[in-house]
Amino acid sequence: MNIVKNKKWFFLLSAIVIIPGVISLILFGLKFSIDFTGGSKLEFQISNFKSQTSNKNISEVLDSEKIKVHKIEKVSGDTFKVQTNPIEQDKKNEIVSELDKLGKITEKSFETVGPTIGRETQENAVKAVIVASIAITAYIAFAFRKVSNPVSSWKYGVCAIAALLHDLLIVVGIFSILGRFLNIEVDSLFITALLTVMGFSVHDTIVVFDRIRENLRKNFNLKFEEVVNNSLLETLNRSLNTSLTVVMVLFALLLFGGESIRWFVVALLIGIISGTYSSIFNASQLLVAWYEWDKKRKNN
């Protein structure tokens, strides 16, 4: 089996998944939750309530209280989640007592994020992603410092980061589409998922690169692309098995775990599947493509 030679097809497949997401990202962006924008979130349960008229009645109450509503969502049967501009405790109590006229209300949770904190969370998220990328590149360049033939060590770092960007783009792109069509929001847990995916993606890529490093030392009469292909095949079982184990526990969490971490788990799942794909079918192939391109340039 040769999974290096067919690299164009693998790149193409990645592109097919990434491009719609990127287009959606440019056109629609992401739907940010109140973690980033500031606002209030109230979750409550109504007993003795007719389900057909639900959302409309709630929105009427909120309108009469002159509150700017972002979203009203039915979490399950009789539980609703309402998101609004930031409101204070007194105002919330007023709303709850108004809603109480529709049926008996049990407050499940109430959260307000002031605009200052929202802005701060935004800044910290951006900083975290940037610092993580820099730290990881530096680490890979360090870990592979002894490998320089025939491809120099910093190029391993760049290829690992390219694979990582691939995974981030896929997750962010899919969440942009989910946000547009299913109103799924991006919150601070989503950023956590992104960073975890970064860690995992590089983790996977390093295992493959490690094998390339080892095989380069043993087989100096083989062509670079052959060494890379052998290394990929040798680590294929491990890559698939490891991601299967992680995917398995994540699926268990997705099916049985609670509502509040559902989309967090989905983001992790997408990222980890993408991370496995990119470490098998993208990262090393990119390394070979770069090597061939360099060689062609030198020969001319």
Partner: protein, 443 residues
């Protein structure tokens, strides 16, 4: 160490840890073992510790309040003092509110001063908000003329009726008239004292009060609780008073902080809050634990199906891993949030990665016709660089998450980091000793 001895010790330690991990006491026969209260006396070893899992607000229900301390009216040089005082005042109010294990955190974020309060178990926070959010009020009281009736006693700030025999009377002097308070040391004996500096209007008011009350106490009240009642030795006309007494340095410091809370009143602004009802928390906890348990079982089945005997050993290693991590969670203790539990469950999935790397390598060496014991040896030694490098990259991201994240994100990062570190031990050391035990020591 010989594998047999290692495994015996491991088994012994793991059993103890497993017992400590249990969330509820065991009641069997006439035994009543409670893991939350450990009291061991073994010759010279005394270990007494109460431990239980620390659940975050999202799991046990409760309220989180984030206040910004408004420093507009406070001069720049005094801001740190004012911040410390605001924190102390809040602490006092929260303790007064009577919540078990409240947490109060003072944070300086750039130019902003914040105080984060967590009140586990409290969901009706209307009362807490009123009590905590107020700006500190400092007042000075002197003794009045009328006798006090018993039923009136509770109308006055707490502690005043112990100081005065007659009805206490509030003076016009307040925290606004106090410039600062600081700890100084007496010129004669070097004992700690608290020095008060009044503003010009305060100096006049204070002079009048001290003139009237020579030989009598003047009580200082913060938020309806008396904090000090020094006896006036002489009339003080220049606005520089010293409270002396048999203070320890800490006591003097505490008094200074309380006085400054009134002298440098910084209004509190609520900039964020979250309340989680207890039922929602328990529901989420149960669901995640069920998810985690099923994930764990399916992992073991998967490993056994894939690697047969070695898979069983990996399963043992994974169990040791789970026991150790839960113990660390309980012992430190790590505050468990929903995200943290997800991080822990994710780390279970990642923990077997090291085993998979080793076993795949072993198979590869076997395919290359290496003898079994050599293949096992090579499996460990050759898989090690990959295990090390890949785990370090994951650890880097957890540190960054911890540094930049707040609340739930930190919980996730800590859980994942602990998981990664423990997994390196369990997957390598534990599996290796098990293999040595079953395959002979020559590996």
């Amino acid at each position: 160490m010989r594998p047999k001895i290692f495994l015996l010790i491991l088994f012994f330690v793991a059993s103890i840890l497993l017992f400590i991990d249990l969330p509820v006491p065991i009641k069997a026969f006439n035994l009543n073992l409670d893991p939350s209260r450990i009291n061991i006396n073994l010759g010279p070893i005394h270990l007494k510790r109460e431990s239980s899992y620390k659940l975050g607000l999202d799991l046990q229900g409760g309220a989180r309040l984030i206040y910004q301390v408004d420093m507009k009216g406070v001069p720049l040089t005094e801001q740190n003092t004012a911040f410390e005082s605001a924190r102390t005042v809040i602490e006092r109010r929260v303790n007064f509110f009577g919540v078990t294990e409240p947490s109060i955190q003072a944070l300086k974020v750039g130019p902003d001063y914040r105080i984060i309060i967590e009140l586990p178990g409290t969901t009706n926070i209307d009362q807490a908000l009123n009590l905590i959010g107020r700006t500190a009020q400092l007042s000075f009281w002197e003794e009045g003329k009328d006798r006090i009736a018993t039923e009136e006693a509770q109308l006055y700030p707490f502690g005043l009726t112990q100081v005065f025999e007659n009805k206490p009377e509030k003076t016009k002097l307040t925290g606004k008239d106090l410039k600062t308070a600081r700890v100084v040391f007496g010129s004669k004996d070097g004992t700690p004292q608290v020095q008060l500096n009044f503003t010009s209007s305060g100096t006049k008011l204070f002079a009048d009060i001290t003139k009237r009350n020579v030989g009598k106490p003047v009580a200082i009240v913060l938020d309806d609780i008396a904090i000090s009642a020094p006896i006036v030795q002489q009339a003080i006309l220049n606005g520089d008073a010293v409270i002396s007494g048999s203070f320890t340095q800490d006591q003097a410091k505490a008094l200074q902080i309380q006085l400054n809370a009134g002298a440098l009143p910084a209004p509190l602004k609520l900039i964020g809050q979250a309340t989680v009802g207890p039922s929602l928390g328990i529901e989420s906890l149960k669901k995640s634990l069920l998810g985690g348990f099923l994930g764990f079982i399916s992992l073991i089945v998967f490993m056994v199906a894939l690697y047969k005997k070695e898979g069983v050993l990996a399963g043992v290693a994974l169990s040791v891993y789970t026991i150790v991590v839960l113990f660390i969670f309980k012992f430190i203790p790590v505050t468990l949030t929903l995200a943290g539990i997800a991080g822990f469950i994710l780390s279970i999935g990642m923990a077997v990665d090291a085993n998979i790397l080793i076993f795949e390598r072993m198979r590869e060496e076997l395919r290359n016709n290496k003898p079994r014991n050599l293949a096992i040896k090579l499996g460990f030694s050759r898989a090690w660089p990959s295990i090390r490098d890949s785990n370090i990259s994951s650890l880097i991201t957890t540190f960054i998450l911890f540094y930049f994240g707040s609340g739930p994100i930190r919980g996730f990062a800590i859980a994942l980091a602990i998981g990664i570190i423990v997994s390196m031990f369990s997957a390598i050391t534990v599996t290796r000793n098990l293999l040595k035990y079953f395959e002979g020591e020559n590996i």
